[in-house]
């Protein structure tokens, strides 16, 4: 048994954390804020609290500090130390035994339910950590929540992204990406669009190119899945797609979120942005599902 599993076992054996009281009792002003923000016009509120608000009552708040015996916090520390530093919530299941009314005082306890791993996921190797929280009014359990997060180790990119050379002919493009605009060179005379850009229009010879904003939508014309050798600043394997934009020009970019075996030629994509640092933002592609 490794140290992660050992610590998970120890934390599970501790069972429920000490009950933590909600800052405020269930109350109408907070219910009203909630229904206003979410646009929920259910007339049952604020006589009752929306059941999905149960977690809201016991949030730590702006300056709150996680309890020392909070099992998710304790387990996260162990996984952080083992290099599984990133977190993403994957599942949430709430069960409501009854509706709550203003004036009721909630308390919450949490126990560690499961730590499963290491698993290979699209995000990287990681552990699924599941906790179960129970809300009480006095001794009566009124709601439960299973909450699962993936604590994962982001695959380490080697080195930093190769930076583009930029000159007066191409700076408009990179100034655009910094503003999250995808710019395509256009000839002011013959209106021909062109990518990659250059100082002249190769069709009519115009020497004063301008640009238009691309819609950012296009489809995959071809793609590769790069496994070897390492690429500076990229996590492998990486999908690089040659996209034909709606406007007709083609452009290369990474397709970061689509598993390699779910990419196909003709797949619809839309531009997104990968900010490298304050000086450089790269266009990338996301699959479109509309």
């Amino acid at each position: 048994m490794n140290s992660i599993e050992a610590e998970a076992g120890r934390l599970k054996a501790l069972g429920e954390s000490e009950p933590r009281l909600a800052r405020d009792p269930v109350n109408e002003p907070m219910i009203n804020n909630w229904v206003e923000a979410l646009g929920d016009r259910n007339p049952a509120y604020p006589k009752f609290a929306p059941p999905a608000m149960v977690q809201v009552w016991t949030m730590y708040g702006l300056n709150g500090v996680r309890d020392a015996d909070d099992p998710l916090g304790a387990m996260s520390k162990v996984l952080d130390a083992a290099g599984f530093t990133s977190v993403v919530a994957t599942n949430c299941e709430q069960t409501y035994h009854r509706y709550l009314r203003p004036g009721e005082q909630l308390a919450v306890t949490t126990r560690l339910s499961d730590v499963v791993g290491p698993k290979r996921t699209a995000l990287g190797e990681g552990w699924f950590v599941t906790t179960v929280s129970t809300w009480y009014v006095d001794d009566e359990p009124v709601a439960e929540m299973m909450f699962r997060v993936l604590k994962f180790r982001p695959p380490e990119p080697s080195g930093s992204v190769l930076r583009p050379l930029v000159n007066q002919d191409t700076e408009f493009f990179w100034q655009g990406t910094a503003k999250r605009e995808l710019r395509i060179q256009r000839c002011p005379d013959c209106r021909r669009l062109r990518h990659p850009p250059g100082p002249f229009c190769p069709v009519c010879g115009s020497a004063t190119p301008e640009y238009v904003l691309a819609s950012g939508r296009g489809s995959i014309f071809s793609y590769v899945v790069h496994h070897h050798p390492p690429i500076p600043g990229k996590r492998l394997p990486v999908v690089i797609a040659l996209v034909e934009l709606e406007e007709g020009v083609r452009m290369l970019g990474e397709l970061p979120d689509v598993p390699p075996d779910e990419v196909w030629i003709g797949q619809e994509v839309v531009v997104d942005w990968s900010r490298v640092d304050s000086e450089l933002t790269l266009p990338v592609w996301r699959a479109r599902h509309d």
Binding site: L162, L165, S222, V225, H228, I265
Partner: protein
């Protein structure tokens, strides 16, 4: 299309070939490799350093012409030239030499290429230097390298995926090129993969490098050097070996041309720069594809061998997979290709070892002897070049 008749065909010949051993770690400098190869080629041609008055190499070669001349003790050079675009330069070095010889600018020109490409700077890696070159090429690279497309294998894979999609070619179709090359290399004692043929299953189970390319779709990385001695066809007749007469020599660059990333043309199915080379080769030589006995087709990555067969007219567009499926490119087939084993099987010397194999085919000394005329091509995906060499009987 230019219709002026070229006066180059038949004027010059390759009279000497020389090479170092092909290895993964030469253990010596690139200059030493270059000079060893040139000395071997001159000895093969029955000439000495003082006969040489011209040197040609690749812009990528790290050995300056004057350094090579110094080490050889060449007292006088009247012609020196370099060709751009990586492996696309290979046959063009011979074209430069032939033009210099045909015009009387030089009498004996040596073409050379030498590197520690495996133990030193590896071209298969992502080249931060190429991406940052303060040239128009560096600007061009800015549309691919930062986006994560930064190796030659990846550049070709992008093309190969589209080619597969449109023509229905499969990874196995690419694999047949590797199987043929390795089969030929297996009987070539100078080949790195001498005695090591592969099966199509080996190809299919080799690891991915850049999908859709497996490891065995990619050529080797090698240390070594090759040199070729070019002189007039007339003078070559008096030298020890039967001359490999240069029946045609051409360069080509196509519309909207980039280095390895010509992705912005109407389609992504052909190598128009190779068609431009081929059209000139046929026009200069008066030969047709059916006249070619052996081909040495640049094989840094297998998919472009299929495309070259199409662009050079050995078969129609998209038909190469059927052409090669019947064993046409192996010994005994319609067009044995890369009889030395190619860069997949013999060594990766930037295409120059393939020209030496063409000369052996003309001399009748290949391990996989077929004969001429032989068509040779240079690097694909880049501005490129090609040659047709014949025996002295054809002119």
């Amino acid at each position: 299309m230019k219709t002026t008749m070229s006066t180059l065909p038949g004027k010059a010949a390759i009279a000497g070939i020389g090479a170092t051993e092909f290895s993964k770690r030469s253990g010596r400098t690139e200059l030493r490799l270059a000079v060893e190869a040139v000395r071997a080629a001159l000895a093969d041609a029955g000439l000495t350093a003082s006969d040489v008055d011209g040197l040609v190499t690749f812009t990528m070669d790290t050995n300056s012409e004057i350094a090579v001349a110094r080490e050889l003790g060449i007292p006088r050079l009247s012609f020196f030239s370099r060709i751009n675009f990586g492996g696309g330069a290979a046959c063009a070095t011979v074209q430069q030499a032939a033009m210099a010889v045909a015009t009387g600018i030089a009498e004996v020109v040596v073409c050379y290429r030498a590197f520690n490409e495996r133990s030193g700077h590896r071209f298969g890696r992502v080249s931060a230097a190429a991406a940052a070159a303060p040239t128009s090429n560096g600007i061009d690279a800015s549309w691919s390298y930062p986006m994560g497309l930064g190796t030659p294998a990846a550049d070709v894979a992008m093309f190969a995926r589209r080619y597969q999609h449109v023509y229905g070619a499969t990874s196995e179709d690419f694999g047949r090129v590797a199987v043929a090359g390795r089969r030929h290399a297996a009987v070539n004692p100078n080949a790195w993969f001498h005695g090591k043929p592969i099966t199509l299953e080996d190809h299919q189970t080799s690891r991915w490098v850049v999908e859709p390319l497996h490891l065995l779709d990619c050529c080797q990385e090698s240390d070594g050097g090759v040199a070729l001695v070019v002189t007039s066809a007339q003078r070559a007749k008096d030298l020890p070996h039967p001359p490999a007469v240069i029946a045609a020599a051409a360069q080509g660059s196509g519309p909207d041309q980039f280095v390895m990333t010509s992705y912005y043309r109407d389609d992504l199915l052909g190598l128009p720069e190779m068609r431009i080379v081929g059209d000139q080769l046929w026009a200069q030589s008066g030969l047709r594809p059916g006249d070619i006995a052996t081909a040495v087709l640049y094989d840094h990555f297998t998919p472009f061998v299929l495309v070259q067969l199409e662009e050079l007219g050995f078969c129609g567009p998209g038909e190469a997979r059927e052409f090669i499926a019947g064993g046409a490119i192996e010994m005994g087939g319609r067009l044995p290709v890369n009889t030395h084993g190619g860069q997949l099987g013999e060594a990766y010397i930037h295409g120059m070892n393939g020209i030496a194999e063409a000369v052996r085919q003309i001399r009748g000394t290949s391990c996989n002897q077929v004969g001429g005329p032989v068509l040779v091509t240079a690097g694909t995906g880049v501005p490129t070049s090609g040659l047709i060499v014949t025996g002295p009987g054809i002119d």
